[in-house]
Subunit: 212 residues, 2 copies
DNA sequence: CATTAAAAGTATACACTGTTTACATTAAAC
DNA sequence: GTTTAATGTAAACAGTGTATACTTTTAATG
């Protein structure tokens, strides 16, 4: 049997796993991607063929592992938002704004369990996990930097960029949340069930305001 | 559906509880109000001094009970929104709009666990609970009727009232969600931690739009 | 090297959980 | 007043998160 480097993968028949910490996160991510967000710590241990107590050598509690998985979510999320900027960098402000909004919503819709883990109370206090918080801040930063650019070119009003970012965040988070929780089925029927179309229409109205 | 009776109908030393179904909901509400949203079904049975299996005579699963509790939440929520209309009925459109927004946010901030139960995936499919869905629709209806009034008096643009309601809902839900999940601590510091002040400022900007 | 200390596994146990089953008691219906 | 349906109990099952004591392997040190 081939003995693989311990850095890359687990050794097939050794007492030690080799890289259990990473493997836990990876397997947790897989569970989440499959919609099995209620996976148990023991289930995860079984999937990795280790004893129930083994993961505790790397994560003090289940919540600590969830925090690590949520953190990975923010890494991917930040990348997705950054990529939307790259893609739309030669286009107009409307397109730039919508590109990021679309990237945001797509992440939520395509990874609802991950999004929920990142934004609801499975991890009640993010302050307990500094690197999680740092990564979530970086996601927010993608938004604020876009807002600042929009203000610079005179597309957005000159207001406190943080507050303006919050306004956009609340808008897109609220929409994403309501969609992935299945609370707007009756509205989606009107648009033929096309989430992106609904989002585009709403965001355009959001930009312009609703005052007559 | 009517409110759960507040009277305790339990007879002191009888084999039968008397009104266990209502008592379960009431006790569940109390747990929620105390922030103990992770209460177990058995914990609830213990609090009511009945055996672990007793609640199953009234609720097929724990989720069914949670749905009933969520439904009560929407009843109270609808009342709170309706009351905000009553209070502001002789005032101007700005006040009316803000009054409802304030009522919405106050409900979420004062009952975060209840709000979460109503709006996240503890009850994944609301369609399985028709009366829950009906009550949640009534909450939404409070919003749409206000929107229609605002359009009638020419305060809001003439757009599809459902879509406009969705826009407002996403705004206020997004904000409420981010606040109760503790995701905007850094913004709150700027306003001295006053949630209502932050909300008022944001909602005003929301109305006007952010386009220059 | 050989020895030892630290790291990372195992096995087992504890107090829980949601839920099911078989049975007991009571209230309601005929 | 008897029967039946509703509503309780007790006990059990499989599963959970986590703690503890012990074993095996790896890394570090003289």
């Amino acid at each position: 049997m081939t003995r693989v480097s311990k850095k890359n993968a687990k050794k097939s028949d050794s007492y030690h796993h080799g890289n259990l910490a990473d493997a836990c996160i990876r397997t947790g991510l897989e569970f989440l991607a499959k919609g099995r967000s209620d996976f148990s710590f023991r289930e995860l241990a079984r999937a990795l063929k280790v004893s129930p107590g083994a993961p505790y050598k790397h994560f003090e509690t289940k919540e600590v592992l969830l925090a690590a998985i949520a953190e990975q979510g923010f890494v991917i999320f930040t990348e997705a938002l950054a990529e939307s900027k790259e893609i739309s960098k030669d286009k107009g402000p409307h397109e730039k704004f919508h590109a990021m909004g679309e990237a945001y919503l797509n992440f939520a819709v395509n990874n609802p369990d991950h999004y929920r883990l990142m934004f609801t109370d499975a991890i009640p206090d993010h302050d307990l996990y500094p690197s999680l918080k740092q990564n979530s801040m970086q996601s927010f930063q993608q938004l604020t930097s876009m807002v600042e650019e929009m203000q610079d070119i005179g597309f957005f009003k000159n207001q406190d960029p943080i507050e303006q970012s919050m306004l956009i965040w609340a808008h897109v988070h609220g929409l994403s949340s309501l969609i992935i929780e299945g609370r707007i089925g009756f509205v989606l029927e009107q648009t033929g069930g096309d989430v992106q179309q609904l989002k585009a229409g709403m965001s355009e109205k959001f930009l312009a305001g609703i005052l007559a």
